[in-house]
């Protein structure tokens, strides 16, 4: 039944496209949301019962647990706090990419470049979203935080990040990968701090795209077509 998984992925990818398409007008928006859920259920079920996954029971339990936490917090939160919820969820998605990349490298994956991309973008999406969340929630000042030499510092960090990334791809040293993760998370925080609260929706939108691209990176490393399609 080797055709079952690719077929489900084609279906699920199409469902996601129709899901966004459904949002084109308010009339079809709710069915669009439902199509998205359907596509997600299909993708998860197909993967879980495919030969790629030998132990599905434990991950399934974890999905239920995460689903309960996510649904509960999304339904409980006040209407006015929804934007920061989106930011927070987005950050978790980014963090998830980071963990997948780490797990891949630890288990001896040779796809250094792909996993580095997944790690870097995921980490920026994570820490950036967390800062966005904190600003919208009022945990930290929503004002733009600017200090002298900030851009220079960011430049240095970015150069260091690419340097580390290159060194990791060349050496495959696991320790370097940890440093890379830490550095990128720091960079994500610094990138979002100077942006004021009013611009947060734009920031979340961009970070949302980042976490999608992180999924693309992971998709390349796992040769998983669905991840690549949806990441866009």
């Amino acid at each position: 039944m080797s055709w079952l998984l690719p077929l489900s992925y084609i279906l699920s990818g199409s469902l996601f496209i129709f899901s966004i398409r459904g949002l084109a007008s308010p009339k079809t928006a709710r069915s669009g949301n439902l199509l998205g859920m359907l596509g997600m259920i299909l993708a998860i079920a197909a993967t879980m019962f495919s030969p790629l996954v030998s132990d599905w029971l434990l991950p399934f339990g974890v999905i239920l647990l995460g689903g309960m936490v996510g649904t509960y917090s999304a339904l409980k939160v006040k209407m006015t706090s929804l934007p920061q919820m989106v930011a927070a969820f987005n950050g978790l998605g980014g963090l998830s990419s980071v963990f997948v990349a780490l797990a891949e490298i630890i288990s001896g994956s040779r796809a250094y470049l792909d996993n580095s991309i997944g790690l870097i973008i995921g980490a920026v999406a994570f820490s950036g979203s967390m800062v966005a969340f904190a600003k919208l929630q009022g945990l930290i000042s929503a004002k733009a935080l600017v200090f002298k030499g900030q851009q220079f510092l960011n430049l240095v960090l970015a150069v260091a990040m690419f340097g580390l990334c290159g060194y990791f791809i060349w050496s495959g040293d696991l320790e370097i990968f940890y440093y890379l993760a830490a550095l990128t998370i720091l960079l994500g925080v610094l990138l979002i701090l100077p942006i004021g609260g009013a611009d947060m929706p734009v920031v979340i939108s961009i970070l949302n795209a980042y976490s999608g691209w992180a999924a693309v990176g992971i998709g390349f490393s796992l040769n998983n077509v669905l991840l690549i399609i949806v990441g866009c």
Partner: protein, 94 residues
């Protein structure tokens, strides 16, 4: 040549994503953001593959954590969009 096939798919998918999102009315942009946020939780598939290995290892634990985080992202994202869309319905009735 697998990498070229994947890159082809990536580029074509980018075009689809671009055009589909352009079609969304500005009023629905916040639910759009929330839905696409939920969809980007598709990384759960990658997490499932890493968490689904038979032997207990560090990688499996990290994979399970990733599955958890991604599923919070997915369910939360869809639930938030659902609430946003409910809000739209009320407005229309008025």
């Amino acid at each position: 040549m697998e990498i070229w096939m994947l890159l082809t798919i990536l580029v074509l998918a980018c075009f689809i994503g671009y055009f589909v999102v352009w079609g969304v009315t500005p009023a629905l942009h916040s639910p759009l953001m929330s839905v696409s946020n939920a969809i980007s939780g598709i990384v759960v598939i990658g997490a499932l593959v890493t968490a689904g290995v038979a032997d207990a290892s560090m990688a499996k634990i990290l994979g399970l954590v990733a599955v958890f985080l991604a599923s919070v992202n997915i369910f939360g994202g869809f639930a938030v969009s659902h609430r946003m869309l409910l809000m739209f319905k009320k407005k229309e009735k008025k």
